[in-house]
Amino acid sequence: MDKIPILKIGHFLMVAIQVDLYDRLALTLESDLVQAVSKTGAKGVLIDISSVSIVDSFMGRILGNIAGMSKVLDAETVIVGMQPAVAITLVELGLPLKGVQTALNVEKGMELLQKKIQFTEEDIDDDSTLQ
């Protein structure tokens, strides 16, 4: 069965979806990603969907689920690279992806995540100086 690779970069997990998503693959990604967040203690998840040409209500729901589940595990999710046609379609479909953070590209998404976890990082730094 196909699998979408999850890369760990520092405090973040990164996923680039470069294949046509079908339902089971999206569900596998959801559970793999949430497990990876828990296992690595990642503070942020970046999902690049720039190669994805179709996001329907099912895939939209999965993206929302990933963000929600990661949040519960203390990780922020940012979706990056959405194609303009996909954005138009999602809003007209009635799925504006509320509660999901987005950024234009991977670079901006990384910046957003860095900013979001800055406070947490400062806390960690304080701890290490104490030891």
Binding site: D20, I54, F58, T89
Partner: protein, 137 residues
């Protein structure tokens, strides 16, 4: 008056058929020179409808047709299944209504994405949904 220029019939019996169907549909949209936004809208709507067919009726068939009408070309898709049918179509067409676990956006969302949407359903016999998306519509 609508003229059918070309057509293709596909069966959707499992999840992976949806991927094949979406790719085939993409070829058709490119063939008639549909804009990228309209391509995306149509394929997304088709994705919703084919998933419904799989989930609620265990599969079905789709007829893809290039049609000419309103002085332009378009694509007409006919989804037909022999599933349980929809008892209350008005209710099913409302945002947020779902008998499954989905968000209930499938039918009303698909309708918003296309130029023309027609649904016929008989309980116990099946459902037929016909959608049209014009090249520039």
């Amino acid at each position: 008056m609508m003229i059918v220029l070309s057509s293709d019939n596909m069966r959707i019996m499992k999840e992976l058929d949806m991927v094949v169907f979406r790719n085939r549909l993409k070829e058709f949209t490119v063939k008639i020179g549909m804009s990228l936004v309209n391509q995306t809208k149509l394929i997304t709507a088709a994705s919703e409808l084919s998933r419904n067919m799989l989930r609620y009726a265990g599969g079905g068939a789709v007829l893809i047709e290039i049609v000419n009408g309103q002085r332009q070309n378009g694509l007409r898709l006919t989804f037909s299944d022999t599933g349980p049918g929809i008892p209350d179509i008005d209710k099913a067409m409302k945002d947020g209504f779902s008998t499954g676990k989905s968000l209930g956006l499938g039918l009303p969302g698909a309708k918003r994405l296309v130029s023309d949407f027609d649904i016929k359903s008989t309980v116990g016999k099946g459902t037929t949904i016909t959608i049209i998306k014009w090249k520039n519509g």
